[in-house]
């Protein structure tokens, strides 16, 4: 009998994820079994309001019923059995690279796709037969190899396409003792349709789940049996996509690199306390602006659109009625510190009337390659070229000797955060100073 699935792309996809990645790395560093020790990775940066739980080991989850990973320190019980450690982002990045290196021993380099810091999609279609009789056997071999080389446990979702592998991983692999889950086109009715909690499925968050509930859809079976045209009418393209997910259909080609229509580049930070004074807020805006400009230069790009978002503190929000403000403006293509900072300060002064600030974001968009300079009638061209060079010289000094060796004196005033933050990776302790 012909089935619709006969025409769908068939392959063997593994979605491999590390069990409590950060916590496991730290447990192994201390010589403990990642599954046995109750361990929590806690980031205690100044702006985390007492501490942020980045990862919990499976044993800690079991003993103390900890659930959401990024929760607060105040939800953490004071228990002598619990081991608390600071994060080391650089170590985790290194481990991630090592793990992907191991995967390339099982599939060609073009078929390994890092999905996040602890997840990778591996297209095993062409190579799985070399390592075992069934995909499950091969998954077992990969798990054992990673455990033996790095001491880490991995969970594997197996599917005929990436979305099946992802759901197999999220819904099934994490809860079986073997740490392997499997979904194929033939088993979709038995595996995907019985899922009652819509948010467990990849691509469905809280809001989408609520939207689906309003349409009378409360589980995956109902989603799969809804009229797809109606779904599309109601939710647009996403409705169609969700319908396909419910049938385990995924026509994406992982090897096809999506073209970014318009890239943007920027940075944001949450401040360690409410900032009240204009001077100290402007110091931080200046620091972020310089960081963004430096990144533009590093990528050899010029920006012609600049945006600034300011978030107020809770108290100021209640008083003001709005959570903050957002401004964007066009400027002649540039990546010059002084020009960018000048515009940012201008935007800030336009709209700020003394509210306490807790959140600052600077983004640039409409990027063009840095291959030319627009000469300006009102400026000496020699001066202009010199200004341009200055930025690159500063970058070179930062790269050679470290960021903290050359900073503006304002960064040393009470408001400045650049020096503290230069030690961080992704907002958390990088750990360079310890190795």
């Amino acid at each position: 009998m012909m089935m619709f699935i006969d025409k769908e792309p068939h392959g063997v996809f593994f979605l491999i994820d590390n069990k409590s990645f950060y916590a496991s790395c730290e447990a192994v560093q201390r010589g403990f079994n990642p599954l046995k020790i109750p361990l929590v990775v806690l980031s205690e940066q100044e702006n985390t309001n007492g501490g942020l739980i980045l990862a919990t080991s499976p044993e800690a989850k079991r003993l103390f019923h900890l659930k959401a990973n990024v929760s607060r320190q105040r939800n953490l019980p004071q228990d002598p059995r619990l081991c608390v450690v600071p994060p080391r982002m650089n170590l985790y990045i290194k481990r991630n690279l090592q793990i992907n290196q191991i995967f390339t021993e099982f599939a060609s380099e073009q078929d390994v796709w890092p999905y996040s810091i602890d997840e990778s999609i591996v297209d095993m279609t062409h190579s799985w037969k070399l390592f075992g009789n069934t995909p499950r056997e091969v998954a077992r071999v990969i798990q054992k190899t990673v455990r033996k080389r790095l001491g880490l446990y991995t969970t594997v979702g197996i599917g005929d396409n990436p979305v099946q592998a992802k759901i197999a991983l999220d819904v099934y692999a994490k809860h079986t003792p073997e740490l392997i889950g499997e979904i194929h086109y033939e088993t979709v009715p038995k595996t995907i349709w019985p899922i009652n909690n819509l948010t467990d499925v990849w691509g469905i968050g809280n809001r989408t789940a609520k939207h689906l509930n309003r349409l009378g859809i409360h589980n995956m079976y109902e989603l799969a049996h809804k009229n797809p045209y109606l779904l599309k009418q109601e939710m647009g393209l996403i409705g169609e996509q969700l319908f396909a997910t419910a049938w385990g259909v995924d026509r994406s080609k992982v090897s096809h690199k999506p073209v970014t229509k318009s890239a943007s580049l920027g940075n944001s930070q949450v401040l360690p306390r409410d900032y009240l004074g204009q001077q100290e807020i402007e110091t931080v805006i200046k620091e972020i602006g310089e960081q963004v400009a430096a990144r533009l230069r590093h990528h050899h790009k010029l920006a012609s659109c600049l945006s600034l978002s300011i978030g107020f503190s809770y108290a100021a929000t209640a008083e003001d009625g709005r959570g903050g403000f957002h401004h964007a403006l066009r400027l002649p293509p540039c990546n010059n510190n002084r020009e960018i900072v000048k515009q940012l300060i201008f935007m800030f002064r336009q709209d700020w009337n003394g509210q306490a600030v807790r959140n600052i974001a600077v983004y640039t968009s409409r990027l063009t390659p840095d291959t030319h300079q627009q000469l300006d009638l009102f400026m000496n061209p020699n001066r202009q070229i010199k200004n341009e060079k200055l930025g690159y010289v500063i970058d070179e000094i930062h790269q050679k000797f470290g960021f903290t060796k050359l900073v503006y004196a304002t960064s040393l005033t009470t408001g400045g955060t650049a020096i503290e933050r230069s030690k961080l990776v992704g907002g958390h302790n990088g750990g360079n100073s310890y190795e």
């Binding site: 046995k36 608390v84 790095l150 190795e435």
Partner: protein, 106 residues
């Protein structure tokens, strides 16, 4: 050689705050995956969570070198040193056992 020792000791000095009813000790792990010896500073106040802060990583993966570092460390501080991942190994110079039995959580 004792650059490593200086690094470890200077970091211990900063962390060893000598609070009352608090246990402080040093954890040394034999890491076969990274081929290194990892040092950690552990502290635990009575009835509270254990806090473990990384001190240093000895890249020189040689037991007799580690023995020298430990010897130097013992001459500078009386903190207990706990060993993990050394079960069944002996110090090269004295032939004393490093770690009698594997920890429960290893």
């Amino acid at each position: 050689m004792n650059n490593d020792l200086d690094i470890i000791y200077s970091r211990i000095e900063k962390l060893f705050k000598r609070m009352s009813r608090t246990r402080y000790w040093i954890l040394v792990n034999n890491d076969p995956y990274d081929q290194s010896y990892n040092f950690f500073f552990n502290s635990q106040r009575q009835g509270e969570r254990l806090k473990s802060v990384p001190l240093h990583k000895l890249i020189n993966y040689d037991l007799s070198y580690l023995e020298q570092v430990i010897k130097g460390l013992r001459s500078k501080t009386n903190l207990t040193i706990e060993f993990t991942g050394f079960a069944g190994m002996k110090w090269p110079s004295t032939q004393k056992v490093i770690q009698w039995r594997r920890e429960q959580l290893e």
